[in-house]
Subunit: 118 residues, 2 copies
């Protein structure tokens, strides 16, 4: 039951598109990630995902449109919806999603990583 | 799949210890609340709760200690643990918890409120 300071945790890593586990509750993970550049197109069969921007901004691309998500904003991507996050500059993200979620969803491949505890 | 701007949502209400629903995913609720003053002692039988401070600070009291939670910090309170949030000055909180969560847990009483969509 220790509190988590987001800025302190973000200072502990620099890799992009990795997932750092900072909390767990009700079968859900709270994870931090730094995005820079484009990720890959993917979707999640069963998991909805929440992206909260703590610092910076990024663009969530969908097949038919895109949404800019700014600092202090969040976006929920429902399961089944193809998406690709793209960050022109580094962005710091808090993720909230089921513990079962794989970062690349059903796409798999070399960019698949497991979350690592910070 | 619209994004949510936290500052814009907080500007829409002023009541304390109410819960405003701003997102739902995987059976979990994302809610906003403004706390000021002491809440009541309670616990949740099955639900863990996450409190993320978006603006200000508050003190989470436990029976044997307390934790100050500052802007940019979060605290997870596991189910079964008695707690009482107290804010000397108004604080803006983002809550993540199961949709089944009642704000007063097993304590019930006049301060029980259902979340309202913003």
């Amino acid at each position: 039951m220790d509190k988590v300071n987001l800025a302190e945790k973000f200072a502990l890593f620099s890799e992009h598109f990795q997932q750092k586990l900072v909390g767990e509750l009700n079968g859900q993970h709270v994870k931090l990630a730094k995005f820079q550049g484009p990720f890959i197109w993917h979707h999640h069969e069963v998991e909805d995902e929440l992206f909260l921007v703590v610092h910076g901004r990024f663009r969530m691309e969908f097949r038919d449109r895109h949404v800019w998500v700014e600092e202090g904003e969040f976006l929920i991507v429902p399961h089944g919806v193809e998406h690709r996050p793209v960050a022109d500059e580094e962005v710091h993200i808090l993720l909230f999603e089921p513990a079962s979620t794989v970062n690349t969803g059903g796409a798999g491949g070399e960019r698949t990583v497991a979350p690592v505890a910070l």
